[in-house]
Symmetry: C2
Subunit: 225 residues, 2 copies
């Protein structure tokens, strides 16, 4: 019955923490801490949009504002050109090792799209960097709403001309899956137990109500195809 | 300098006339005439949206309304389910023979996206039907504006985070290219001298101002890569 798989990207498909840390290495010895601090500003920055305090802006804009604050916290001073380049570090995140193979397999049976809070060009660049093939790009900039706002899921289904129950959200984050389920989507959990580093305590297992759970995308493809 | 190629689809990449005629064959002996009549309602139907007479609706909605009128003109009576199925004939149009190879080659150097008046799911289905790989799906439903409205081209460039001159519109239709050029896009003309059948008199050659012209997509790829 499921015809399209919609994917969370940061954490679920790409290892943002290691990838940002690696790209920050020339600027700080505390790359992982910098990545955590930068990412720590992610939810609050989107909340300003979700709550209506500010109009919608793409994630690159929020990433740049959060970068400026994080650089200040780490007492790192870089010029405008370098800050623009650093903002694009999020366009060059490496996928977990199972993703390219898993997507290639799943794509033979399902319509595949990211449904990320990242903007369209960020998704385009990640797909090229990691050799993924998407059918379309859904998500915040396409729908005008940041997850987990229900409008984002509903609009994605509408653009794909599918009923909500014909769409499955695939993510390593229960909050994302819970919001998708509340909109009528099927929900498939995948494990990313080191997204936040070796001591991760959250999202180690699916919340009740998930339709499927798999260790990774290769295992999910084996379940579904 | 060009980083993304945006493609017109109906006529430029797919042979809508033969493909619709073929799919209409079980219902009428006049398949090509039916395709011409159905397509003849295309520009007027979009003009109602462009002019603000009605709010934006996706092309599938306009195609269905035009189908109902065309069926009446041809004295063909079909039920609701069959009319829905016929509307999807536009999701299964066959590409001209050079397109899959040309896109595969161009995709190694450029970001590729359709920039069509067709809706997102229509583009998804055409890509799957013809084995194309897009980086993103621009066009009317993504931008909220039907070509040749300038907002459609400008918004596509914005979503790709590119300056207009970093985008090239690729089409077999001079009106589309003229509108893109007026927005600052580069313009690449390809020849489709039988889009409208053997007696075609329009768009046989590029209008002045086109940056490149090629016989087809394979030839364009040879020019650009």
């Amino acid at each position: 019955m499921v015809k399209a798989l919609l994917f969370d990207v940061f954490g679920s498909l790409v290892d943002w923490r290691s990838s940002v840390a690696r790209q920050m290495a020339p600027y700080t010895a505390e790359g992982a801490a910098f990545a955590d601090a930068w990412r720590g500003r992610y939810q609050p920055s989107m909340e300003a949009v979700r709550s209506g305090q500010r109009p919608f802006v793409p994630l690159d804009t929020l990433h740049r504002e959060s970068l400026d604050a994080t650089l200040a916290d780490f007492a790192i001073d870089e010029d405008e050109a370098q800050r623009r380049e650093m903002t694009l570090f999020w366009h060059r995140l490496d996928a977990w090792e199972d993703v390219a193979e898993g997507l290639a397999s799943l794509g033979r049976k399902f319509i595949l799209s990211p449904h990320s809070n990242g903007n369209v060009r960020l998704m385009v660049d990640l797909a090229r960097h990691n050799d993924w093939r998407w059918d379309a790009i859904m998500g915040a900039e396409t729908t005008g709403h940041y997850k987990p706002q229900p409008e984002s899921y509903r609009r994605a289904a509408e653009l794909l001309m599918l009923a909500p129950e014909e769409c499955a959200m695939v993510a390593a984050h229960n909050a994302d899956l819970d919001a998708a389920r509340a909109c009528g989507f099927k929900t498939f959990f995948i494990e990313r137990p080191t997204e936040h580093g070796p001591g991760q305590t959250t999202d180690l297992a699916p919340a009740p109500g998930c339709d499927r759970a798999a260790e990774n995308l290769r295992a999910l493809a084996a379940l579904l195809t």
